[in-house]
Symmetry: C2
Subunit: 240 residues, 2 copies
Protein backbone atom coordinates (compact mmCIF):
# COMPACT_ATOMS: atom_id res chain seq x y z
CA UNK A 1 0.00 0.00 0.00
CA UNK A 2 1.79 3.07 -1.28
CA UNK A 3 1.10 6.64 -0.15
CA UNK A 4 0.24 8.98 -3.05
CA UNK A 5 -0.78 12.13 -1.19
CA UNK A 6 0.28 15.32 -2.94
CA UNK A 7 -0.97 18.84 -3.54
CA UNK A 8 -3.02 18.24 -6.69
CA UNK A 9 -4.72 15.54 -8.75
CA UNK A 10 -2.16 15.19 -11.54
CA UNK A 11 0.81 14.67 -9.18
CA UNK A 12 -1.13 12.17 -7.08
CA UNK A 13 -2.03 10.22 -10.24
CA UNK A 14 1.61 10.25 -11.39
CA UNK A 15 2.75 8.64 -8.14
CA UNK A 16 -0.08 6.11 -8.36
CA UNK A 17 1.02 5.12 -11.89
CA UNK A 18 4.56 4.55 -10.65
CA UNK A 19 3.23 2.50 -7.71
CA UNK A 20 1.12 0.39 -10.08
CA UNK A 21 4.06 -0.19 -12.44
CA UNK A 22 6.17 -1.35 -9.50
CA UNK A 23 3.55 -3.87 -8.39
CA UNK A 24 1.78 -2.14 -5.48
CA UNK A 25 -1.51 -3.68 -4.34
CA UNK A 26 -3.27 -0.42 -3.52
CA UNK A 27 -2.62 3.26 -2.92
CA UNK A 28 -3.29 5.42 0.14
CA UNK A 29 -4.33 9.07 -0.23
CA UNK A 30 -5.14 11.80 2.23
CA UNK A 31 -6.74 15.11 1.34
CA UNK A 32 -4.50 17.19 -0.94
CA UNK A 33 -2.12 18.98 1.37
CA UNK A 34 -1.80 22.65 0.47
CA UNK A 35 -5.14 24.40 -0.02
CA UNK A 36 -7.67 24.09 2.77
CA UNK A 37 -10.62 22.67 0.89
CA UNK A 38 -14.21 22.08 2.02
CA UNK A 39 -15.98 18.71 2.15
CA UNK A 40 -17.81 19.03 -1.20
CA UNK A 41 -14.47 19.95 -2.81
CA UNK A 42 -12.81 16.98 -1.09
CA UNK A 43 -15.52 14.64 -2.34
CA UNK A 44 -15.31 16.03 -5.86
CA UNK A 45 -11.53 15.63 -5.82
CA UNK A 46 -11.74 12.00 -4.72
CA UNK A 47 -14.44 11.18 -7.24
CA UNK A 48 -12.14 12.40 -10.00
CA UNK A 49 -9.16 10.63 -8.47
CA UNK A 50 -11.03 7.33 -8.07
CA UNK A 51 -12.17 7.44 -11.71
CA UNK A 52 -8.55 7.54 -12.92
CA UNK A 53 -6.66 5.49 -10.32
CA UNK A 54 -4.99 2.32 -11.61
CA UNK A 55 -5.22 0.64 -8.18
CA UNK A 56 -7.67 0.28 -5.28
CA UNK A 57 -7.65 3.16 -2.82
CA UNK A 58 -7.40 3.41 0.96
CA UNK A 59 -8.50 6.79 2.35
CA UNK A 60 -6.13 8.38 4.83
CA UNK A 61 -7.48 10.82 7.41
CA UNK A 62 -4.49 12.94 8.47
CA UNK A 63 -5.88 16.36 9.44
CA UNK A 64 -2.81 17.27 11.53
CA UNK A 65 -0.75 17.50 8.34
CA UNK A 66 -3.32 18.21 5.62
CA UNK A 67 -5.57 20.56 7.64
CA UNK A 68 -8.58 18.77 6.09
CA UNK A 69 -10.56 15.93 7.72
CA UNK A 70 -12.76 13.38 6.03
CA UNK A 71 -16.09 14.06 7.71
CA UNK A 72 -18.17 10.91 8.29
CA UNK A 73 -20.78 12.06 5.76
CA UNK A 74 -18.04 12.37 3.13
CA UNK A 75 -16.76 8.87 3.92
CA UNK A 76 -20.32 7.57 3.59
CA UNK A 77 -20.46 8.90 0.05
CA UNK A 78 -17.20 7.10 -0.78
CA UNK A 79 -18.78 3.75 0.14
CA UNK A 80 -20.41 3.57 -3.26
CA UNK A 81 -17.06 3.20 -5.06
CA UNK A 82 -16.00 -0.40 -5.38
CA UNK A 83 -12.32 0.41 -5.74
CA UNK A 84 -12.23 2.26 -2.42
CA UNK A 85 -11.47 -0.51 0.01
CA UNK A 86 -10.86 1.05 3.38
CA UNK A 87 -9.57 3.84 5.53
CA UNK A 88 -6.77 4.73 7.90
CA UNK A 89 -7.58 7.28 10.58
CA UNK A 90 -4.70 9.26 12.07
CA UNK A 91 -6.82 11.98 13.65
CA UNK A 92 -5.86 10.67 17.09
CA UNK A 93 -9.47 11.30 18.12
CA UNK A 94 -11.38 8.21 19.19
CA UNK A 95 -14.71 10.02 18.83
CA UNK A 96 -13.92 10.49 15.15
CA UNK A 97 -12.87 6.84 14.91
CA UNK A 98 -16.17 5.78 16.50
CA UNK A 99 -18.06 7.75 13.83
CA UNK A 100 -16.08 6.00 11.12
CA UNK A 101 -16.81 2.60 12.68
CA UNK A 102 -20.54 3.29 12.23
CA UNK A 103 -20.22 4.52 8.65
CA UNK A 104 -17.86 1.79 7.49
CA UNK A 105 -20.15 -0.95 8.86
CA UNK A 106 -22.26 -0.40 5.74
CA UNK A 107 -19.51 -2.00 3.59
CA UNK A 108 -18.44 -5.33 5.02
CA UNK A 109 -15.41 -5.51 2.72
CA UNK A 110 -13.93 -2.23 4.01
CA UNK A 111 -11.01 -2.23 6.42
CA UNK A 112 -10.81 0.55 9.00
CA UNK A 113 -7.37 1.04 10.54
CA UNK A 114 -6.01 3.46 13.12
CA UNK A 115 -2.70 5.30 12.90
CA UNK A 116 -1.49 6.36 16.37
CA UNK A 117 -0.20 3.21 18.06
CA UNK A 118 -0.69 4.57 21.58
CA UNK A 119 -4.45 4.46 20.81
CA UNK A 120 -4.47 1.05 19.12
CA UNK A 121 -5.76 -0.88 22.15
CA UNK A 122 -8.65 1.53 22.70
CA UNK A 123 -9.39 1.83 18.99
CA UNK A 124 -9.73 -1.96 18.69
CA UNK A 125 -12.15 -1.90 21.63
CA UNK A 126 -14.51 0.51 19.86
CA UNK A 127 -14.58 -1.46 16.62
CA UNK A 128 -11.58 -0.28 14.59
CA UNK A 129 -10.23 -3.33 12.79
CA UNK A 130 -6.49 -2.85 13.08
CA UNK A 131 -3.62 -0.44 12.98
CA UNK A 132 -1.05 0.91 10.55
CA UNK A 133 1.48 1.69 13.26
CA UNK A 134 5.01 3.00 12.81
CA UNK A 135 6.36 0.90 15.67
CA UNK A 136 5.19 -2.28 13.94
CA UNK A 137 8.09 -1.82 11.55
CA UNK A 138 10.37 -2.44 14.51
CA UNK A 139 8.37 -4.86 16.63
CA UNK A 140 5.73 -6.53 14.43
CA UNK A 141 5.15 -9.39 16.89
CA UNK A 142 4.39 -6.91 19.70
CA UNK A 143 1.60 -5.34 17.67
CA UNK A 144 0.24 -8.67 16.48
CA UNK A 145 0.19 -9.87 20.10
CA UNK A 146 -1.68 -6.74 21.15
CA UNK A 147 -4.14 -7.21 18.29
CA UNK A 148 -4.75 -10.89 19.03
CA UNK A 149 -5.20 -10.24 22.75
CA UNK A 150 -7.77 -7.58 21.92
CA UNK A 151 -9.63 -9.95 19.59
CA UNK A 152 -9.89 -12.62 22.28
CA UNK A 153 -10.73 -9.93 24.88
CA UNK A 154 -7.78 -10.82 27.09
CA UNK A 155 -7.63 -7.54 29.01
CA UNK A 156 -4.51 -8.46 30.94
CA UNK A 157 -2.47 -9.26 27.85
CA UNK A 158 -3.83 -6.18 26.05
CA UNK A 159 -2.59 -4.05 28.91
CA UNK A 160 0.83 -5.71 28.94
CA UNK A 161 1.35 -5.07 25.24
CA UNK A 162 -0.25 -1.65 25.30
CA UNK A 163 2.18 -0.63 28.05
CA UNK A 164 5.08 -1.95 25.99
CA UNK A 165 3.87 0.17 23.05
CA UNK A 166 3.76 3.24 25.31
CA UNK A 167 7.22 2.40 26.58
CA UNK A 168 8.49 2.14 23.03
CA UNK A 169 7.13 5.60 22.25
CA UNK A 170 8.57 7.21 25.36
CA UNK A 171 11.99 5.75 24.59
CA UNK A 172 12.33 6.08 20.85
CA UNK A 173 9.94 8.79 19.63
CA UNK A 174 10.95 11.73 21.78
CA UNK A 175 14.61 12.16 21.00
CA UNK A 176 15.56 15.70 20.01
CA UNK A 177 13.22 18.67 19.83
CA UNK A 178 11.37 18.27 16.53
CA UNK A 179 7.94 16.91 15.71
CA UNK A 180 9.69 14.63 13.23
CA UNK A 181 11.29 12.79 16.20
CA UNK A 182 8.77 9.97 15.81
CA UNK A 183 9.77 9.10 12.23
CA UNK A 184 13.44 9.71 12.80
CA UNK A 185 13.47 7.52 15.90
CA UNK A 186 11.85 4.59 14.09
CA UNK A 187 14.06 4.91 11.03
CA UNK A 188 17.21 5.25 13.10
CA UNK A 189 16.31 2.19 15.20
CA UNK A 190 15.59 0.18 12.03
CA UNK A 191 18.97 1.22 10.73
CA UNK A 192 20.70 0.24 14.01
CA UNK A 193 19.05 -3.18 13.69
CA UNK A 194 20.30 -3.52 10.12
CA UNK A 195 16.78 -3.74 8.70
CA UNK A 196 17.00 -0.72 6.39
CA UNK A 197 18.80 2.57 5.87
CA UNK A 198 17.45 5.63 7.69
CA UNK A 199 17.68 8.00 4.74
CA UNK A 200 14.86 10.60 4.62
CA UNK A 201 13.78 12.96 1.85
CA UNK A 202 14.39 16.65 2.55
CA UNK A 203 12.97 18.68 4.35
CA UNK A 204 13.61 15.88 6.84
CA UNK A 205 16.99 14.46 7.76
CA UNK A 206 18.08 11.31 9.53
CA UNK A 207 19.39 11.59 13.08
CA UNK A 208 23.02 12.65 13.45
CA UNK A 209 25.55 10.52 15.35
CA UNK A 210 24.65 12.12 18.70
CA UNK A 211 20.98 11.15 18.49
CA UNK A 212 21.92 7.78 17.05
CA UNK A 213 23.86 7.04 20.23
CA UNK A 214 20.79 7.88 22.29
CA UNK A 215 18.68 5.53 20.14
CA UNK A 216 21.17 2.76 20.80
CA UNK A 217 21.04 3.37 24.56
CA UNK A 218 17.25 3.38 24.49
CA UNK A 219 17.21 0.06 22.67
CA UNK A 220 19.37 -1.42 25.42
CA UNK A 221 16.74 -0.25 27.91
CA UNK A 222 13.91 -1.63 25.79
CA UNK A 223 15.67 -5.00 25.81
CA UNK A 224 14.93 -5.21 29.53
CA UNK A 225 11.18 -5.25 28.80
CA UNK A 226 9.80 -8.72 29.48
CA UNK A 227 7.62 -8.71 26.39
CA UNK A 228 8.23 -11.43 23.77
CA UNK A 229 7.52 -9.16 20.79
CA UNK A 230 10.28 -6.81 21.91
CA UNK A 231 12.76 -9.38 23.21
CA UNK A 232 12.61 -11.45 20.02
CA UNK A 233 13.78 -8.48 17.96
CA UNK A 234 16.39 -7.20 20.38
CA UNK A 235 17.76 -10.58 21.54
CA UNK A 236 20.54 -10.62 18.99
CA UNK A 237 21.08 -6.86 19.12
CA UNK A 238 24.24 -5.52 20.66
CA UNK A 239 25.06 -1.85 20.98
CA UNK A 240 28.14 -2.13 18.82
CA UNK B 1 8.25 35.36 -10.08
CA UNK B 2 7.04 31.77 -10.12
CA UNK B 3 5.84 29.85 -7.08
CA UNK B 4 7.76 26.59 -6.55
CA UNK B 5 6.43 25.48 -3.16
CA UNK B 6 6.02 21.72 -2.87
CA UNK B 7 6.37 18.97 -0.29
CA UNK B 8 10.06 18.16 -0.78
CA UNK B 9 13.32 19.49 -2.19
CA UNK B 10 13.46 17.50 -5.42
CA UNK B 11 9.96 18.49 -6.56
CA UNK B 12 10.58 22.14 -5.71
CA UNK B 13 13.79 22.07 -7.74
CA UNK B 14 12.00 20.43 -10.68
CA UNK B 15 9.46 23.26 -10.81
CA UNK B 16 12.26 25.83 -10.51
CA UNK B 17 14.07 24.27 -13.49
CA UNK B 18 10.92 24.52 -15.58
CA UNK B 19 10.45 28.14 -14.48
CA UNK B 20 14.04 28.95 -15.43
CA UNK B 21 13.68 27.30 -18.84
CA UNK B 22 10.55 29.34 -19.50
CA UNK B 23 12.30 32.61 -18.67
CA UNK B 24 11.18 33.39 -15.12
CA UNK B 25 13.14 36.10 -13.28
CA UNK B 26 12.99 34.50 -9.85
CA UNK B 27 11.16 31.82 -7.87
CA UNK B 28 9.05 32.09 -4.72
CA UNK B 29 9.07 29.32 -2.11
CA UNK B 30 7.30 28.84 1.18
CA UNK B 31 8.15 26.16 3.72
CA UNK B 32 7.56 22.66 2.35
CA UNK B 33 3.89 21.98 2.90
CA UNK B 34 3.31 18.53 4.37
CA UNK B 35 5.53 17.77 7.35
CA UNK B 36 5.54 20.28 10.20
CA UNK B 37 9.22 21.07 10.44
CA UNK B 38 11.13 23.09 13.02
CA UNK B 39 13.15 26.25 12.32
CA UNK B 40 16.58 24.53 12.12
CA UNK B 41 15.07 22.02 9.66
CA UNK B 42 13.55 24.89 7.67
CA UNK B 43 16.88 26.68 7.52
CA UNK B 44 18.72 23.53 6.50
CA UNK B 45 16.14 22.88 3.78
CA UNK B 46 16.50 26.37 2.37
CA UNK B 47 20.28 26.26 2.48
CA UNK B 48 20.19 23.13 0.33
CA UNK B 49 17.53 24.62 -1.95
CA UNK B 50 19.44 27.89 -2.40
CA UNK B 51 22.60 26.00 -3.33
CA UNK B 52 20.85 24.29 -6.23
CA UNK B 53 18.34 26.88 -7.44
CA UNK B 54 18.85 28.15 -10.99
CA UNK B 55 17.17 31.50 -10.17
CA UNK B 56 17.06 34.09 -7.37
CA UNK B 57 14.67 33.26 -4.54
CA UNK B 58 11.93 35.19 -2.76
CA UNK B 59 10.88 33.66 0.58
CA UNK B 60 7.15 33.25 1.10
CA UNK B 61 5.77 33.20 4.63
CA UNK B 62 2.41 31.40 4.37
CA UNK B 63 1.86 29.66 7.73
CA UNK B 64 -1.91 29.36 7.21
CA UNK B 65 -1.31 26.81 4.46
CA UNK B 66 2.12 25.35 5.27
CA UNK B 67 1.74 25.28 9.10
CA UNK B 68 5.34 26.56 9.32
CA UNK B 69 6.38 30.22 9.77
CA UNK B 70 9.71 31.79 8.96
CA UNK B 71 10.75 33.09 12.35
CA UNK B 72 12.66 36.40 12.21
CA UNK B 73 15.87 34.71 13.38
CA UNK B 74 15.61 32.25 10.50
CA UNK B 75 15.10 35.08 8.01
CA UNK B 76 18.14 36.83 9.46
CA UNK B 77 20.25 33.79 8.62
CA UNK B 78 18.98 33.87 5.03
CA UNK B 79 20.34 37.39 4.58
CA UNK B 80 23.79 36.00 3.94
CA UNK B 81 22.73 34.37 0.66
CA UNK B 82 23.15 36.70 -2.26
CA UNK B 83 20.59 34.91 -4.43
CA UNK B 84 17.85 35.37 -1.84
CA UNK B 85 16.41 38.73 -2.79
CA UNK B 86 13.35 39.31 -0.67
CA UNK B 87 10.29 38.05 1.09
CA UNK B 88 6.52 38.01 0.87
CA UNK B 89 4.65 37.80 4.17
CA UNK B 90 1.13 36.38 4.10
CA UNK B 91 0.86 35.73 7.83
CA UNK B 92 -1.77 38.47 8.07
CA UNK B 93 -0.08 39.52 11.32
CA UNK B 94 1.35 43.04 11.31
CA UNK B 95 3.46 42.28 14.39
CA UNK B 96 5.22 39.59 12.40
CA UNK B 97 5.59 42.01 9.48
CA UNK B 98 7.13 44.60 11.81
CA UNK B 99 9.72 42.03 12.93
CA UNK B 100 10.58 41.29 9.32
CA UNK B 101 10.94 45.02 8.59
CA UNK B 102 13.67 45.20 11.25
CA UNK B 103 15.50 42.09 10.04
CA UNK B 104 15.34 42.93 6.35
CA UNK B 105 16.74 46.43 6.95
CA UNK B 106 20.15 44.76 7.17
CA UNK B 107 20.08 44.04 3.42
CA UNK B 108 19.23 47.18 1.46
CA UNK B 109 18.68 45.19 -1.75
CA UNK B 110 15.94 43.01 -0.24
CA UNK B 111 12.29 43.64 -1.03
CA UNK B 112 9.71 42.93 1.66
CA UNK B 113 6.16 42.56 0.41
CA UNK B 114 2.86 41.80 2.12
CA UNK B 115 0.21 39.40 0.88
CA UNK B 116 -3.21 40.27 2.34
CA UNK B 117 -4.43 43.35 0.47
CA UNK B 118 -6.76 44.45 3.27
CA UNK B 119 -3.59 45.08 5.32
CA UNK B 120 -1.59 46.75 2.56
CA UNK B 121 -2.18 50.33 3.75
CA UNK B 122 -1.14 49.53 7.32
CA UNK B 123 1.77 47.35 6.21
CA UNK B 124 3.19 50.19 4.11
CA UNK B 125 2.92 52.48 7.14
CA UNK B 126 5.12 50.20 9.26
CA UNK B 127 7.83 49.86 6.64
CA UNK B 128 6.77 46.99 4.37
CA UNK B 129 7.81 47.97 0.85
CA UNK B 130 4.86 46.81 -1.20
CA UNK B 131 2.28 44.13 -1.78
CA UNK B 132 1.75 41.02 -3.87
CA UNK B 133 -2.02 41.33 -3.80
CA UNK B 134 -4.55 39.14 -5.59
CA UNK B 135 -6.85 42.06 -6.34
CA UNK B 136 -4.07 43.83 -8.22
CA UNK B 137 -4.63 41.34 -11.02
CA UNK B 138 -8.04 42.94 -11.49
CA UNK B 139 -7.41 46.56 -10.56
CA UNK B 140 -3.67 47.27 -10.80
CA UNK B 141 -4.14 51.04 -10.91
CA UNK B 142 -6.12 50.95 -7.63
CA UNK B 143 -3.22 49.29 -5.84
CA UNK B 144 -0.60 51.55 -7.42
CA UNK B 145 -2.68 54.57 -6.38
CA UNK B 146 -2.86 53.23 -2.82
CA UNK B 147 0.89 52.60 -2.81
CA UNK B 148 1.76 56.02 -4.20
CA UNK B 149 -0.57 57.78 -1.76
CA UNK B 150 1.12 55.90 1.11
CA UNK B 151 4.58 56.89 -0.15
CA UNK B 152 3.65 60.59 -0.24
CA UNK B 153 1.83 60.21 3.10
CA UNK B 154 -1.49 61.41 1.69
CA UNK B 155 -3.70 59.93 4.41
CA UNK B 156 -6.95 60.95 2.72
CA UNK B 157 -6.12 59.25 -0.56
CA UNK B 158 -4.76 56.19 1.26
CA UNK B 159 -8.10 55.87 3.03
CA UNK B 160 -10.07 56.29 -0.19
CA UNK B 161 -8.16 53.52 -1.93
CA UNK B 162 -7.95 51.31 1.15
CA UNK B 163 -11.73 51.47 1.43
CA UNK B 164 -12.07 50.55 -2.23
CA UNK B 165 -9.82 47.53 -1.61
CA UNK B 166 -12.03 46.48 1.32
CA UNK B 167 -15.08 46.97 -0.86
CA UNK B 168 -13.55 44.79 -3.53
CA UNK B 169 -12.97 42.01 -1.01
CA UNK B 170 -16.47 42.20 0.44
CA UNK B 171 -17.97 41.99 -3.03
CA UNK B 172 -15.82 39.48 -4.85
CA UNK B 173 -14.04 37.30 -2.28
CA UNK B 174 -16.92 36.00 -0.22
CA UNK B 175 -19.10 34.27 -2.79
CA UNK B 176 -20.02 30.71 -1.88
CA UNK B 177 -19.03 28.91 1.30
CA UNK B 178 -15.45 27.78 0.75
CA UNK B 179 -12.15 29.26 1.86
CA UNK B 180 -11.13 29.14 -1.80
CA UNK B 181 -13.74 31.88 -2.50
CA UNK B 182 -10.98 34.48 -2.65
CA UNK B 183 -9.08 32.83 -5.50
CA UNK B 184 -12.19 31.74 -7.33
CA UNK B 185 -13.69 35.23 -7.13
CA UNK B 186 -10.61 36.87 -8.61
CA UNK B 187 -10.21 34.29 -11.35
CA UNK B 188 -13.89 34.40 -12.26
CA UNK B 189 -13.86 38.21 -12.42
CA UNK B 190 -10.73 38.14 -14.61
CA UNK B 191 -12.50 35.71 -16.89
CA UNK B 192 -15.65 37.91 -17.03
CA UNK B 193 -13.39 40.80 -18.06
CA UNK B 194 -11.83 38.68 -20.80
CA UNK B 195 -8.35 38.95 -19.26
CA UNK B 196 -7.76 35.21 -18.78
CA UNK B 197 -9.52 31.89 -18.31
CA UNK B 198 -10.57 30.91 -14.78
CA UNK B 199 -9.40 27.32 -14.97
CA UNK B 200 -8.00 25.97 -11.67
CA UNK B 201 -6.03 22.83 -10.90
CA UNK B 202 -7.86 20.19 -8.85
CA UNK B 203 -8.58 20.03 -5.88
CA UNK B 204 -9.96 23.48 -6.72
CA UNK B 205 -12.58 24.24 -9.35
CA UNK B 206 -13.69 27.43 -11.03
CA UNK B 207 -17.04 28.92 -10.06
CA UNK B 208 -20.11 27.35 -11.67
CA UNK B 209 -22.59 29.44 -13.68
CA UNK B 210 -24.59 30.36 -10.57
CA UNK B 211 -21.63 31.95 -8.78
CA UNK B 212 -20.46 33.49 -12.05
CA UNK B 213 -23.74 35.40 -12.26
CA UNK B 214 -23.18 36.73 -8.74
CA UNK B 215 -19.66 37.86 -9.71
CA UNK B 216 -21.14 39.75 -12.67
CA UNK B 217 -23.69 41.46 -10.43
CA UNK B 218 -20.98 42.40 -7.94
CA UNK B 219 -18.88 43.93 -10.70
CA UNK B 220 -21.85 46.10 -11.69
CA UNK B 221 -21.97 47.32 -8.09
CA UNK B 222 -18.20 47.90 -8.01
CA UNK B 223 -18.58 50.05 -11.11
CA UNK B 224 -20.49 52.57 -8.97
CA UNK B 225 -17.37 53.17 -6.85
CA UNK B 226 -15.93 56.60 -7.60
CA UNK B 227 -12.36 55.37 -7.63
CA UNK B 228 -10.36 55.82 -10.85
CA UNK B 229 -8.47 52.52 -10.48
CA UNK B 230 -11.76 50.63 -10.42
CA UNK B 231 -13.68 52.71 -12.94
CA UNK B 232 -10.92 52.52 -15.55
CA UNK B 233 -11.15 48.73 -15.59
CA UNK B 234 -14.92 48.47 -15.44
CA UNK B 235 -15.75 51.41 -17.74
CA UNK B 236 -16.04 49.23 -20.81
CA UNK B 237 -17.49 46.27 -18.95
CA UNK B 238 -21.07 45.32 -19.52
CA UNK B 239 -22.82 42.45 -17.83
CA UNK B 240 -23.47 40.62 -21.08
Amino acid sequence: LVGVTDTCLSDTLSIAEIAADLGANAVVASAPCYFQIAQPELLDYFRKLIAELPLPLVLYNMPGLTKVSFEPGTVRQMLEYENVIGMKDSSGDLNVAAEYVKVVAERSDWTLMTGPEELLAEALQIGVMGGVCGGANLFPRLFVDLFEAAVRKDAEQVELHHNAVLHLGKNLYQIGHYSSAYMKGIKCALSCLGICEDHMALPLNRFAEQERLVVKQKMEQLRQLEVPGVQSVLAGYSNA
